[in-house]
């Protein structure tokens, strides 16, 4: 029983990291129509920027997280101006943009390798502060922090999309970008804000991933990319809350698959395979995503 509780707790931690990473991806995917294979590198970028200020410069971790978010948001913004916008003006469509994102992923990942090397890095935090919850679950402070921040961020984004004028104009842009500009929306601002939000959340997700993993290298984002995509598709492309459900669901499924009571459970090395298998199976049943509603085109 305590094994199950611990697995559920671990699943929640893994799931909330996937969810926070997925939400940035789903915004860019749903609003701008870019299937961003470089999203994992945005995560890694955030983690390494936080590493630089936290470890190299000695800032406290809280400040490092904020700094990394801002820096990643700026990266996202810079790439919107320097890369995506010119491509969009040239009439590039989904598949072309997807292939560009693969090129971008290669560039970003190896720039990070070039700067920080392949050595595993860790943040300057106390990983040994562990809380015993009800005598059955043990979670570290970093894990608890990560889960809380992730949930708070997702809630905030969800409210922004549903309630604010910015959120509405984002939805309008994703629905019909030409009509959005006829309505008086400055579409260039919308694409910029979407990247600020999407990349900023990716930066946050990267730092949280680094915190929870303990140590990380520049491949960290790419390793998690497929589970993140799985969460996005399960949750329905473009849906913030869907990402939450998809991410947490996947996290739980990955951890629970190792449960002994399930015919011994699968070998933990196959946890990512569980995520891939769930994705493939889910698409067989519902090609539009598990929680995704049929959209009007």
């Amino acid at each position: 029983m305590s094994e199950l509780a611990q697995l559920l707790a671990n699943g929640l931690v893994t799931g909330s990291i996937i969810a926070i990473a997925a939400i940035g991806l789903t915004l860019v995917y749903g609003i701008l129509g870019i299937v961003n294979f470089a999203h994992g590198e945005y995560l890694a970028f955030g983690a390494f920027i936080a590493f630089a200020v936290n470890v190299t410069l000695g800032w406290p971790i809280a400040g490092s997280i904020v700094f990394a978010m801002v820096a990643t948001a700026m990266l996202g913004l810079g790439l919107e101006y320097g890369l995506w916008r010119p491509l969009r003006r040239r009439g590039a469509k989904v598949v072309a943009l997807l292939l560009v994102s693969i090129g971008l992923a290669l560039v970003l990942r190896h720039v990070i390798f070039l700067v920080w090397g392949a050595t595993p890095r860790r943040f300057d935090v106390d990983v040994f502060q562990v809380y015993d919850l009800g005598g059955v679950i043990r979670l570290s402070l970093t894990q608890i922090t990560a889960v809380s921040i992730a949930f708070a961020a997702i809630l905030l984004v969800g409210l922004t999309l549903a309630r604010t004028k910015l959120g509405k104009s984002m939805r309008a842009y994703s629905d019909n970008s030409a009509l959005a500009s006829v309505s008086g929306i400055d579409v260039d601002r919308i694409t910029a804000y979407t990247w600020v939000l999407g990349a900023g959340l990716a930066g946050l997700g990267g730092v949280l991933l680094g915190l929870v993993q303990g140590s990380f290298n520049p491949n960290m984002g790419f390793t998690l990319l497929l589970p993140i995509f799985a969460a996005v598709i399960l949750g329905g492309v473009g849906s913030a809350y869907g990402s939450l459900v998809g991410g947490v669901g996947l996290g739980l499924a990955m951890e629970l698959s190792t449960w002994n009571a399930l015919a011994g459970g699968v070998d933990p090395v196959y946890k990512p395979v569980v995520a891939f298998a769930i994705l493939i199976l889910a698409l067989l049943v519902r090609p539009q995503g598990l929680f995704g509603k049929a959209r009007y085109v």
Binding site: N176, L179, R295
Partner: protein, 273 residues
């Protein structure tokens, strides 16, 4: 409409296109204040491209677009669509003219995106003008039928309180009874003082209710004149309206159009836009 007042919109020598291809070669039109102006012509003549160029979706390679709301003059050549809207124009595209995944009310609110106040009053006026929209205000626009979509598109375009409305084929693909309804609404909107440019396939009906018409062919002006005159110009009929044979066949309905020319009964004018 007085002859001396300068037109509310004027294009001179517009040249525009996509990539290597020029679609507009030299197009000049003028829209008198308060008038309905029809732009007709065969497929590929550049009618829709003209609207897109006026509205800033396409940067013209040459020529000018000048917009003159009350007492002012703006050169809007190549201005981005959101800025064009801010100056008091509005546009209804032919396809994709609603936000399909947003509710009807949200669609209308998007139309008033630039307004800071008075959105609710405008919403109320639109619901009066298009009662069906009130009934289904919470429904997603994607679930509407073609005719209902066109009504929503018109209402959305009016939400910003424009002085000049650009309509791209408002009757395309609609059933005859719905077409009647759409043209009725167009006249009603015009009667409230809004100038209009209409691009239409349904050239006869469009010309019949227009103050002025332009015939475009291969991206150039071909004919122009008062709508009624173009409708009976032998050359125009032969070249662009499918010949006299078809005109004869359609003749009985001509009466009907004339009847519709009369201003709408006062009861329908209770709204101000």
């Amino acid at each position: 409409m007085t002859a001396v007042a300068p037109p509310i919109l004027e294009t001179t020598g517009l040249k525009a296109g996509y990539f290597e291809v020029n679609i507009l070669h030299d197009v000049s039109i003028a829209v008198p204040r308060g008038a309905i102006v029809s732009v007709i012509g065969p497929n590929g003549a550049g009618k829709s491209t003209l609207l897109k160029t006026i509205y800033g979706f396409l940067k013209p390679r040459d020529g000018r677009v000048v917009y003159r709301p009350d007492g002012a003059e703006h050169d809007i050549t190549g201005l981005r669509p959101n800025r064009v809207t801010a100056l008091g124009l509005s546009y209804i595209p032919q396809l994709d003219n609603v936000f399909p995944n947003m509710s009807i009310q949200e669609n209308l609110e998007m139309g008033a995106f630039l307004l800071r106040t008075g959105v609710d009053e405008r919403l109320e006026r639109m619901f009066e003008l298009f009662p069906l929209l009130r009934e289904r205000r919470r429904a997603k626009a994607g679930g509407l039928s073609g005719g209902q979509r066109q009504m929503l598109a018109m209402a959305r375009a009016l939400m910003s309180g424009p002085d000049l409305l650009l309509l791209d084929e408002p009757s395309a693909g609609l059933a005859p009874n719905v077409v009647d309804e759409v043209f009725d609404k167009i006249r009603e909107i015009n009667a409230a003082g809004i100038s209009m440019i209409i691009v239409e396939q349904n050239a006869r009906r469009s010309l019949a209710m227009s103050d002025y018409g332009y015939v475009l062919d291969m991206g150039r002006n071909r004919f122009e004149g008062p709508g009624e005159r173009l409708l009976h110009d032998e050359k125009v009929v032969d070249l662009y309206l499918g010949g006299r044979g078809r005109l004869a066949a359609a003749a009985p309905s001509g009466e009907d159009y004339e009847a519709a020319e009369r201003p709408p009964p006062p009861a329908q004018r209770r709204f101000r836009l």
